[in-house]
């Protein structure tokens, strides 16, 4: 087989990974409806394609052809770019997720991720954190009280929970001694007991809780909050821009699930099979990621939404002290040589 | 006046009328079938029984229609014995009366129905079959007799004897085989047969033309005045679903027509239909014929009036002709316009139609002849109108049926003459440059004055075609435009379009 130039391999990798990300996001919209239906003794969408598998496609076509409205008094520029601002960062963040180890692709040895950064965990947090701007600006520019309230809540919530999220990741970073996600994942490879979920269970718990808050998902979806804010930040949106918000949300969920997999479940590692081929690693990665995605849906259709003051109390009075304690405890245990 | 006590109340009664009339006058609802205020009472049906106490005698049950009013009589229409008597009477009437109210045209205004609800018992006790008779017996062109429904009250017999004084009906046969019949089954004749269906208290005598046409509760009834002769009988115009005029019925008017009307007025329904034989289509808004154009082009009514004003202002030798169907209000407005135009208005007075009789029909087809004459209009025969039109440059012809009456003179005019026609139905004549739609007399409110000077009221029984304003408002607009033109505001009428 002739060797392909490196840049072409890279383009192929990016195309595959982004295609997969968008497919997962699309399928999540179906999964959301299916899972909610199952939990409510219903069947869910099953008309478009086998088991309703083509439903996301049908939805997409519908969104494309719907009329797009811009409310009177809205800031048209911000209103128009906000959905893109919401969707783009989540998609960018997936670039550094290490799905599997080295693979042989068209004669080039390469890793199964778009790129590898030495500070990739920082990158995910930094870029992922920008997604909130789409929500805040979309809500603010809609010239609607519901949207504005949604934006306010989103920004307060983001500030409150990002801290705990970062602190919980810091504990993991401390354990691995690197900001590189691949290094973090590989450090857990050897043994299931070395997985960070076992070594830093509190950090894992904190991360999972903050993960829901960071992606604006139940039980922390205050920016949307249909019963009070009739949709919150996206009240005024229609057609494809509305769909972009959801695409962003599902991408962010996917990225967070990947991050959780890498940080706490050793990425694609399979216990008792240290030298697994790359496709097995990839499959294992996808299974773990899917488990987190399912958790998202599971929780959404189980728990009621918090009240806003409860959210704030939980964030500042419970999670933040716990995260700080966790960081110090981890550091102490490391210094003591236990970990 | 005689004083009697009616249901414990002291009331005054007319001694020349039977007791039942006094009861009705003072609000006691005594049922009646054979009794009709316009006919002699015979007391054959016995449904009007009431309890009467006179002097020291014990109270007794009498038929109110055959009992004269006497000073100091105490009448109780609601006595239990009176109710019993009426109910028993009703049971006998209903024994043979078919229960085909769902089919019967009288249902909804049937005295037998009403009193059965008021007095009767809800169920029959009879197990014998009802008598079988002819359900579709034709009594001439107008009336159909259902012998099974007949309760032999003989109102119809008496009507024919007493009102048109042409006795043609009788009760034939004996006992349970009695029926209403004509001699040798000859068809009925005369111009007053339609009233038979009105006097019949049940659905035995029905109008062939109204048969199964509508349920009576679906008809919206409006006060109106008959427009077929100068008698101007008071009538109700009954309209189905706001569109079709289904029925004209006489409305009691002591000074003009009592309870009756003639058949030629009653059945003058055709011209109120959407398509009338021999007449053009209704004008909605207005029609204009442009310079040299062969067809009429529909325009809005105010634009048509403006065109008419332009024409009238721009030419000399004007003629104003009115229809005898104009109301007083419209006539007054037209008279002012004629004066402003410097001419005297005339109205078309067609020849007598030869239907005159001694009872109601005058033979003169102009319902508002008297009123228009009072307003200063000159009565002109069709020939005189033709002569006037022939000598004019511009003519204003106004009113429902004006174009119809003057069809030939108008058609004879060449295209250089200009005629503005206010008509209900379109007319195709080269001289008619603009036609403005007007409501017919069932579509307008107004006043006619009949041959004896009595006022006849018109109310809106149904809406005129969309876009057709009242003639009074069209005329007011015309008057204002002509005044503006006379004051030298040139081109103003055009601008208003």
């Amino acid at each position: 087989m002739p060797e392909l130039p490196l840049w072409l391999v890279w383009v192929i990798k990016a195309a595959v990974i982004y295609g997969a990300l968008l497919s997962v996001a699309g399928l999540m919209s179906l999964a959301e409806r299916k899972v909610s239906a199952w939990m409510q003794y219903r069947i869910g969408p099953n008309r478009v394609g086998p088991f309703g598998l083509l439903q996301p496609l049908a939805d997409g076509v519908k969104f494309m052809f719907k009329e797009e409205l811009v409310p009177a008094g809205a800031n048209p520029f911000l209103f128009r770019i906000a959905p893109a601002l919401a969707a783009l960062p989540a998609m960018l963040a997936v670039a550094v997720i290490p799905f599997a180890g080295e693979i042989e692709l068209f004669g080039q040895r390469t890793t199964l991720s778009v790129t590898d950064l030495p500070i990739s965990s920082l990158y995910v947090l930094a870029v992922g954190g920008l997604g909130i701007y789409g929500i805040i600006l979309g809500g603010w520019s809609s010239n609607s009280k519901y949207s504005l309230l949604g934006s306010l809540r989103a920004s307060a919530q983001m500030v409150s929970y990002e801290l705990s999220l970062i602190l919980s990741i810091l504990a993991v970073v401390a354990l691995s001694g690197s900001l590189d996600l691949r290094v973090i994942a590989d450090a857990q490879q050897a043994d299931a007991a070395l997985w960070n979920i076992a070594r830093a269970p509190l950090a894992f718990l904190l991360f999972v809780v903050c993960m829901f808050a960071e992606t604006n998902r139940h039980p922390f979806d205050f920016a949307e909050s249909e019963p009070e804010l009739v949709g919150g930040f996206h009240t005024e949106y229609s057609a494809m821009r509305f769909a972009l918000f959801f695409l962003g949300e599902y991408c962010a969920m996917t990225v967070m699930s990947c991050l959780a997999t890498v940080l706490f479940l050793a990425g694609g590692a399979i216990p008792f099979w240290p030298d697994a081929p790359w496709w097995a690693e990839l499959a294992s990665f996808l299974v773990k990621m899917s488990a987190f995605l399912f958790l998202y849906l599971w929780v959404r259709w189980t728990l009621p939404r918090f009240r806003f003051d409860q959210l704030m109390r939980l964030g500042w009075k419970v999670l933040l002290p716990l995260a700080l304690f966790n960081l110090f405890a981890t550091a102490a245990l490391m210094a003591a040589g236990v970990l | 006046m005689t004083k009697i006590q009616l249901n414990g109340r002291e009331v005054e009664a007319d001694p020349k009328k039977p007791l039942i009339a006094a009861c009705h006058e003072h609000g006691a609802n005594v049922p009646h079938y054979c009794y009709h205020p316009g006919l002699k009472a015979v007391g054959s049906c016995r449904i009007c029984q009431v309890e009467v106490k006179q002097g020291e005698m014990p109270p007794r049950i009498v038929a109110a229609c055959r009992t004269p009013v006497a000073e100091g009589m105490q009448v109780n229409t609601e006595a239990a014995k009176a109710h019993d008597a009426r109910r028993e009477c009703l049971e006998f009437l209903l024994k043979n009366h078919p229960l085909d109210c769902p089919i019967c045209d009288k249902a909804g205004e049937c005295d037998l129905q009403d009193y059965s609800y008021q007095e009767g018992q809800g169920e029959g006790r009879s197990v014998e079959p009802r008598r079988k008779l002819d359900k579709r017996k034709s009594l001439g062109d107008v009336i159909l007799l259902d012998e099974e429904r007949c309760i032999l009250c003989s109102r119809c017999v008496r009507f024919m004897e007493e009102v048109p004084k042409t006795p043609q009906l009788t009760v034939a046969g004996l006992g349970s085989r009695s029926t209403i019949a004509t001699f040798m089954d000859r068809p009925l004749s005369g111009n007053y047969q339609g009233n038979l269906a009105d006097v019949c208290p049940v659905g035995a005598l029905t109008l062939k033309k109204f048969r199964f046409q509508a349920r009576v509760w679906n008809l919206r009834k409006s006060l109106s005045t008959c427009g077929e002769c100068s008698r101007g009988c008071s009538i109700t115009a009954e309209v189905l679903r706001g569109k079709e005029v289904k029925r004209f019925r006489p409305r009691y008017n002591d000074k003009v027509n009592k309870w009756w009307m003639c058949d030629s007025g009653r059945f003058a329904l055709e011209r109120h239909a959407e398509q009338a034989p021999g007449l053009g289509p209704r004008i909605a808004g207005a029609l204009s014929r442009g310079q040299g154009a062969q067809v009429h082009e529909p325009i809005a009514a105010p634009s048509g009036v403006a065109l008419a004003a332009d024409m009238l202002a721009a030419h000399e030798r004007r003629v104003v002709l009115a229809s005898p169907w104009l109301s007083q209000e419209e006539g007054a407005a037209l008279a002012r316009i004629a004066q402003a135009l410097g001419t005297t208005a005339g109205f078309v007075s067609p020849a007598p139609d030869g239907l005159a009789d001694r009872l109601l029909h005058t033979g003169d087809p102009c319902p508002n002849r008297r009123g228009l004459t009072d307003l200063g209009f000159v009565a002109l025969s069709v020939e005189e109108c033709a002569a006037r039109l022939a000598g004019c440059e511009v003519a204003l012809v106004v009113g429902e049926r004006a174009g119809e009456l003057l069809r030939e003179p108008l058609a004879a005019l060449d295209a250089s003459r200009r005629v503005a026609l206010f008509e209900a139905r379109a007319l195709d004549a080269p001289a008619v440059k603009v036609q403005i739609g007007v409501p017919t007399h069932v579509e307008k409110s107004g006043t006619w004055i009949n041959v004896d000077g009595h006022v006849g009221r018109l109310t809106i029984a149904r809406a005129a075609p969309a876009g057709t304003p009242a003639l009074t408002s069209s005329l007011r607009q015309l008057e204002e435009m002509l005044a503006a033109a006379a004051a030298g505001v040139v081109g103003d009428t055009g601008a208003r379009r």
Binding site: N75, L78, L117, P118, I119, L122, Y123, L125, A126, V127, G129, L130, I132, Y133, I136, L137, W140, L148, S151, L152, S155, A156, M158, V159, S160, E162, L163, I166, V173, G177, S178, L179, R307, F308, D309, Q310, M312, R313, W316, K317 | -
Partner: protein
């Protein structure tokens, strides 16, 4: 290539910075500031300071600016116009602060003008290793530059307290309802709400 990029980014950063102070809408100001931060992060990236770039985006763009947005959305813009009408009264405290601030600024400028910043060997070594790894940064921050680091954080803390003191509105004396809330021992809805309000206040969010 890198040089061109640098100048483009630097120009953009300056443009955004001008936008911050010239934009009429506070929202646009905030967005311009965000743009400036992102440009700065890219400049860091260009120079190979990946960690710095990440931290810049994470802290400033991701957290601080969100707070700014929050504040802007809470602002009553009608009140702002009044501020423009009535120039701020200059108090004695303000004069002192102004004088102190100016003196400090002048001192820093004089320091910069008088001598170059020492280019020590340790710094050069660190630069040589690049900023990709955490360890040298951590070591530098917690040993050599510990004092300035702590001083800076103390300064930030003092600023925060000062802002709270200045911005805090005079509260009306506690009404019966609030007293009732205070008495309300177990946490029902009203108690929670007031707690949350106090939390927001404590977090500088209100």
């Amino acid at each position: 290539m890198a040089e061109t990029l640098f100048y483009a980014l630097a120009l953009a950063a300056v443009g955004f910075a001008v936008g911050v102070i010239s934009a009429r809408s506070p929202m646009l100001s905030v967005l311009s500031l965000l743009g400036a931060f992102v440009c700065l992060a890219l400049v860091y990236l260009l120079a190979g300071f990946q960690f710095l770039a990440g931290a810049q985006v994470l802290v400033y763009a991701g957290a601080i600016m969100v707070l700014f947005l929050f504040v802007v959305m809470l602002l009553n813009l009608a009140d702002l116009s009044k501020v423009a009408e009535h120039p701020t009264r200059v108090l004695g405290v303000h004069r002192v602060a102004l004088a102190g601030g100016s003196a400090a600024l002048l001192g820093v400028l004089a320091l910069l003008a008088s001598r170059r910043i020492p280019d020590t060997a340790a710094d050069t070594a660190m630069l040589a290793r690049g900023f990709d790894e955490l360890e040298p940064i951590a070591v530098a921050l917690f040993s050599r530059y510990l004092l300035p680091f702590e001083a800076a954080s103390l300064l930030l803390l003092a600023t925060m307290v000062a802002v709270l003191v200045l911005a805090k509105r005079a509260r009306a004396p506690q009404g019966p309802r609030e007293q009732a809330q205070a008495v309300d021992a177990h946490g029902d809805a009203r108690g929670d709400a007031s707690d949350a309000a106090r939390e927001l206040e404590g977090a500088g969010l209100r």
